[in-house]
């Protein structure tokens, strides 16, 4: 069996752990730059604040009732790591799919023990991290995803829902589930399915896989098999794009030269961008780090990293480099002999699943197309003529590149001077 574990209102839940006053309140977390609402508590949903809604478009009367926070990447990243740690204590097979979702395999576990196991796991995640999670179980990832949705919505499940692929209950549920609710069925393919007379998940499941493959692609065929309970999307495929891409390297010799670090970070970031485009992902944040040689106890030691959120999800090396440079600027310290530096692209999302509504400044299709071509050309040249044939030049002055995050809460778990305060 496969379980999909999904954190409920993850960003809001993280905030509530350290500020219980937010419990029961309409809380929204805004995207980078405080542009749009990207995470919502149940209460703010009730007030009619939609996902991706630009903050300034919320009716002032409603807005006054809401607590809108800037996103706190450092906190969410740390809490996500803790949730994953707990999940790993329950099964060795944990695949992190996004910051708040993981697929778990329970292969080899007795079926009748799974519900209780998952309940115990769910209680432990809540106890150890304060984050509520929902668990969906089935024999395929697509059905596990649907089961998870039910675990979250239907009170009777108490957070853990099992969907046996061939039960009457599953059939009844799929018969009333619109195809648009199925993972991987986007708006356009849903419209085309409708022209074939396929509107519900059950109708899709009963369709001929071969027939659908002709009309659509192998992906749609796989969805049919998945709806029948056959696990046929390999986990490797599913975990693409990887959630993180890391590129780092040691310097040939220790250096205190800022230009060396600039140069290295630019090269590493470009390389990471290349990897990102290869797996067709977009990054939402980038981490930059520098460190000294920890074996040289005769020299001052220094190790620092910083997460820089990106203004919108991107795979454009120029934007990535710009952000990385801004990060480096903040953590670079004069008079230190550095040994190593690197970058990590974080919070990757899928090109296909890109939520356009979330972009703070949606790019025009034309501009988007042009950037894509430019990056593709860059990758091709570097691939055919050797690494670094074409490189990004010096970025523009970066001072202007500052994100707005006026309502960010303290980084409770990653900064000594921002810990949560308790009355004693």
């Amino acid at each position: 069996m496969i379980a999909l574990v999904d954190c409920n209102n993850f960003y809001v839940s993280c905030e509530r752990v350290f500020n219980p006053k937010l419990e029961g309140q309409p809380v929204g977390v805004m995207s980078n730059n405080d542009g749009c609402v990207v995470a919502r508590s149940a209460e703010i949903k009730q007030l009619g604040v939609a996902m991706g809604m630009p903050a300034h478009q919320i009716d002032p009367h409603i807005r006054r009732q809401c607590i809108l926070l800037s996103s706190n990447y450092a906190l969410y990243g740390d809490m996500s790591r803790r949730v994953t740690d707990v999940l790993s204590q329950h099964t060795p097979h944990v695949d992190v799919y996004s910051i708040d979702e993981s697929f778990l395999s329970f292969e080899g576990f007795a079926l009748e023990t799974l519900e209780e196991r998952c309940q115990a796991m769910r209680r432990q995640v809540h106890r150890d991290t304060g984050i509520p999670v929902s668990v969906g179980l089935s024999t395929s990832k697509t059905l596990a995803k649907i089961a998870n949705h039910r675990a979250k919505k239907e009170k009777g499940f108490d957070g853990v829902a099992i969907m046996e692929p061939n039960s009457d209950d599953t059939r009844a549920f799929l018969e009333q589930l619109p195809v648009t609710e199925i993972w991987g069925v986007a708006g356009r393919s849903a419209a085309r399915l409708r022209t074939l007379g396929i509107e519900t998940a059950w109708q899709l499941r009963e369709s001929s896989p071969k027939h659908l493959r002709k009309h659509f692609s192998v992906v749609m065929e796989r969805i049919v098999w998945e709806l029948r309970g056959d696990d046929c999307i390999p986990l490797d495929d599913m975990t693409q794009p990887k959630q993180q891409i890391m590129v780092s390297r040691s310097f040939g010799r220790l250096t205190s030269n800022k230009v060396d670090l600039h140069e290295a970070i630019r090269v590493h970031t470009s390389r990471a961008g290349e990897k990102l485009r290869k797996q067709q992902g977009l990054a939402q944040a980038i981490m930059v780090f520098v460190r000294t040689n920890r074996f040289r106890s005769d020299l001052p030691s220094y190790s620092k990293s910083l997460v820089v959120p990106l203004p919108h999800p991107t795979d454009d090396s120029r934007e990535l480099v710009k952000a990385a440079m801004a990060g480096l600027e903040r953590i670079f310290k004069e008079g230190i002999l550095y040994q190593k530096c690197g970058v990590m692209l974080m919070d990757l999302c899928d090109h296909d699943n890109e939520q356009l509504g979330l972009l703070a400044e949606p790019q025009s299709d034309e501009k988007r197309e042009r950037n894509k071509k430019l990056m593709a050309t860059l990758d091709k040249l570097n691939c055919e003529h050797g690494k670094n044939t074409v490189r990004l030049g010096m970025p523009r002055k970066i001072n202007s590149w500052e994100l707005r995050c006026e309502h960010r809460t303290p980084r409770y778990t990653t900064h000594w001077n921002e810990l949560a305060i308790v009355k004693s």
Binding site: E23, D85, T129, W416, L419, A420, I421, V422, K423, S424
Partner: protein
């Protein structure tokens, strides 16, 4: 009365943030060091203070209600959320939306949060919106002025 101290071992002051397993002298080039046989892992304070890393959080104490057990304003509390809270434990409690540090106790048959400073009255938990957030396992109190933790 005298105070007895014993030396436990060396503190690893250069420890990297990542914990790596010790490869005990497996890769060798040249003449092996005769000291190798006596090498032991250095002591990591975190190993001693933290039993459940994913459930452990640091919080900052503010106030004077717990000075009786040695928790002073500005101290660093180590809190384990995975421990079962028991009577007598020092706990972090969320009371009416606010995190507070007190001793979990009973007066008569009713649950109370009890301060360890006579100037503060016990807080009855009956009829309050409250929840145990975690159990305080250690308090780090700095004795060197200007030396922050």
């Amino acid at each position: 009365m005298s105070l007895h101290l014993s030396v436990l071992g060396r503190v690893d002051t250069t420890s990297p943030p990542l914990k790596l397993p010790l490869a005990a002298g497996e890769v060798r080039t040249g003449f092996p060091s005769p000291a190798d046989d006596y090498l032991e892992a250095e002591l990591d304070l975190v190993d001693h203070l933290v039993q459940h890393p994913s459930a452990t959080y640091y919080l900052r104490a503010k106030g004077t209600s717990m000075t009786g057990v040695g928790i002073y304003d500005g101290d660093l509390l180590i809190v384990d959320r995975s421990l079962e809270p028991k009577l007598g434990h020092i706990v972090i409690m969320s009371v009416d939306g606010e995190l507070t540090c007190k001793k979990l106790g009973k007066i008569g048959n009713r649950p109370y949060l009890i301060a360890s400073n006579p100037e503060f009255r016990p807080i009855p938990l009956d009829g309050k919106e409250c929840q145990v957030w975690g159990v305080v396992t250690h308090n780090i109190h700095s004795l060197a002025p200007g030396f922050s933790v």
